[in-house]
Symmetry: C2
Subunit: 495 residues, 2 copies
């Protein structure tokens, strides 16, 4: 056993040699090659092929360092290079050197943020950070908490709205209440649906409000839904506005929605998980005009801002600064002892529903500290510039058709029309044919390995399968945008 | 702007130089010194002192690499060294070189696990891993999902039990139902309380079942509570047994509790967040005898097993393998397209309530692969050996008194009695005096910086403040246990 536990010590030179090699491997293969245009975005394999290619078996005996490094090499090889300038598949991606250093630092300190006693530095860091972003959002006397993902942050919005309106639900639950109703854009993110399920409201009590042709909640429709529910004896609770929708990138009109919320005394939550990054840019922050009117906001720094998954905050506009604590506290006596020798108001753990919590703050603070406000702004502006450039180019290139005349955010959606379908009558059959093009083109794209862009239909708008390119990597420039168009033509023209 | 985005590229030699230095700093300061007995566990500062010592300001301009490295150095300096062999404060800790490499790998790939398309390797790795641990637990045809912490895993138990019994709650919520009642040990973890709040049941609908003198649920008490609730027209839903309680480390009697659950058709969840690690040891797995009888289990690999925070699984005993999917799916059309070119049964994202999810699997798989079953077992056995050694020594050393005659797990609780209180009549006043000793001793301990052990009262047992030492670091041996006793005497004798 002594020899086995020797392998766990950082004072063993063999272990240090392993770590040095692991670092070199990660740096060269994942970070350098993984973000270089000279290497592929992916090497596709079907699940069963990959299962037999990867050697994932855990054996009774320890593995040699060589075996572990080999395994790491294979893991990197067959993983998608989400930091690659041609990975545009998802609302996250790009790799930032400083947030990487922050992520390694966080895991190497294995910090766990609930009490000041075990996590002093990061509690102070969170406090500083929340002050900064609350100011940016316009929540003058707010509070915040990191959540494990934007979905979890959105869950918090229902939770807090419910507690604010019906504090007794904390003790007695929802049994016997008239159904609480939540409203969100029909183009909003599905996490609100999951929130309604998980929090015991049920998905039927999340009302999808109709959007206009550009994907914005229609305020009069919202009011119509609320009134209809009041007539039925339901209890309207909250509205989620989306600041940057998942597919079309639309920003809801916060002042108009806030008016409706005020009229009916409803909580207003802004889901800015995707589009919140625009707040960091003087040029684009107008997209979230009225953010200060909201009661809460969720904002993912792992999306537009490029911090590693997951780095998500839930912010609350609450001058009392007590709502999070009151809604969540359970006052566990083994953790939050009142007779500690320091100021226990720094023990922040009871403000959330997690017990242990990783210090996601480290990643975003270190990146922001390194880049400065200017660097963060440059990142965001670069994404918008690239998106505007590509939109313009798609608009004027034969065979491409934009799904909307223009896009507010940096996700750009379009159909690719292969040669045989160009210039035809665009009847139902034509669209059904076009619907089948995207999966086929995507298959070719993935097998070529040079580019990754997602396709999907959008049934709320009756759109057949189209491509949605996400542009957020600051390493991208016009030639990467041009590449997208060339690659579609190369891969798709004979489809 | 070009110069700003240059700082974000891994092909910039300056950036690489920064990363190399960041790696060296983390290795030397956090990992090597941070786990060495020649360096302190902590350097304590009060919150306001630390606030003025740390330079956390984010400026408009970018910071120099030197400034960033300086900031990292200070972050490390003032953070608690949770991997240090004398950090015994919490149910997590110790640092494993291989799980560290896994954590860095995960962040450097910035993988996000929901669809096979963007996360092929880790989906296959999770599948392999769940098969392995389901076998260990005895869930022959089960399924599993990683959750962001043990609290979240416990939340899942109510969620799944509710869905199994009342699938219509997914659509309609809890409104109008008779209250669902959950039962857990009065010594169980507070996350079940938070679960009841968050999921809309309300904390009054979580019933704390009385435990015996050793901290185990009394099965006849459980049955009494269920019957009383049935009489009141409530709907008993589920029972949480704890396999290793947070404070006393007690393992509930799973077969006996299972009998009661079967009789009343209740879901049985085992909260093995803390004590689950014993399953990896042939010598100690008997503590979880009957685990195969449960419907679900939560198990934190970031606790006894030493993987970085957070690495937690929720396991379900469900031969249909459909329950997770049915309870959680929202079938977002932008993510889970049915017309993909590969087998979409590998798109696992709709089995959980998260959308983006970090690949925690990487940390535990890499560690386990490196150590082998034997190394993992050695870790666990080492913890139990140290705990047994210390318990024996505390029992026979003047001035120490065990809180229970013996402990099942590797958390050991005791009172320290300073010289002036020894040999006195132990009346109420004496105990009240003893109650005040722990906070004072803790303050001295923290200021000395050589040791970290938590104290707390336990009101369910009427215990005044006592110390609870958590023993899980495989680098610890008898001399570290001896050190604890010496240090208490040194710090506390004149209190
Ligand atoms: C028995 C038990 N269950 C659950 C938890 C919660 O785990 P986490 O901190 O990962 O949320 C703990 C934490 O200490 C625990 O001791
Ligand atoms: C608008 C919006 N809200 C919330 C989320 C959920 O974020 P997460 O994946 O971090 O749970 C997403 C994810 O894409 C999103 O687009």
């Amino acid at each position: 056993m002594a020899s086995l536990t020797k392998g766990m010590s950082f004072n063993n030179p063999e272990v240090i040699k392993f770590l040095d090699e692991a670092y070199r491997l990660i740096k060269e293969e994942a970070l350098q090659k993984g973000t270089s245009r000279d290497y592929p975005v992916l090497e596709f394999m079907h699940p069963h092929e990959l299962e037999s290619t990867l050697d994932l078996e855990i054996t009774a005996e320890p593995a040699s360092h060589e075996q572990i490094l080999d395994a790491m090499k294979n893991i990197i090889r067959y993983s998608i290079k989400t930091g690659h300038p041609r990975f545009h598949n998802q609302l996250f991606g790009s790799l930032d050197p400083y947030s990487q250093a922050g992520a390694w630092l966080a895991s190497s300190l294995n910090a766990n943020i609930h009490t000041y006693e075990v996590c002093p530095v990061f509690i102070i860091m969170e406090k500083y950070f929340f002050q900064k972003i609350l100011n940016i959002v316009g929540f003058e006397h707010g509070d915040g908490v990191f959540c494990p993902g934007g979905s979890a942050s959105n869950f918090f919005s229902i939770h807090l709205a419910r507690f604010k309106k019906f504090p007794e639900a904390k003790k007695n639950g929802l049994f016997g209440s008239a159904p609480f109703r939540c409203y969100a854009s029909e183009d909003g993110h599905y996490s609100m649906q999951k929130a309604a399920i998980f929090l015991g409201l049920g998905m039927n009590n999340l009302v999808g409000v109709k959007t206009d042709g550009r994907g914005h909640i229609i305020p009069s429709e919202l009011e119509r839904c609320i009134k209809a529910d009041l007539d039925k004896g339901y209890t309207p609770l909250m509205v989620t506005a989306t600041s940057g929708t998942t597919v079309l990138g639309s920003y809801d009109d916060l002042p108009a929605i806030s008016k409706v919320c005020k009229k009916y005394d409803l909580w207003l939550h802004a889901d800015a998980c995707w589009g919140g990054g625009a707040l960091l840019s003087k040029k684009h922050r107008h997209l979230l005009k009225g953010s200060h009117l909201c009661n809460s906001m969720s904002w993912n720094f792992h999306k537009m801002t490029g911090v590693p998954v997951q780095t998500s905050v839930f912010l609350i506009n609450d001058p009392s600064k007590k709502l999070l604590e009151e809604a969540n506290s359970a006052k566990a006596e083994y953790l939050f002892q009142p007779d500690k020798h320091y100021d226990t108001s720094y023990d922040v753990g009871d403000k959330t529903v997690q017990c242990g919590r990783a210090v996601d703050i480290t990643k975003v603070w270190l990146q922001w500290r390194a880049l400065g406000d200017e660097g963060m702004e440059a990142r965001i502006d670069r994404g918008f510039e690239n998106a505007r450039y590509l939109t313009q180019k798609l608009r004027s290139t034969e065979g491409f058709r934009l799904v909307l005349p223009e896009f507010e955010c940096t996700n750009v959606s379009f159909w690719y029309i292969p040669h045989r379908l160009r210039g035809q009558v665009e009847d139902n059959k034509w669209w059904q044919e076009l619907h089948k093009i995207a999966p086929k083109l995507k298959e070719r794209m993935v097998k070529a390995g040079n580019l990754m862009i997602q396709y999907q239909p959008l049934s709320t708008k009756g759109f057949v399968n189209f491509f949605r390119i996400i542009i957020l990597n600051p390493l991208c420039g016009p030639r990467d945008m041009d590449f997208v168009i060339e690659e579609f033509e190369r891969l798709g023209k004979d489809l």
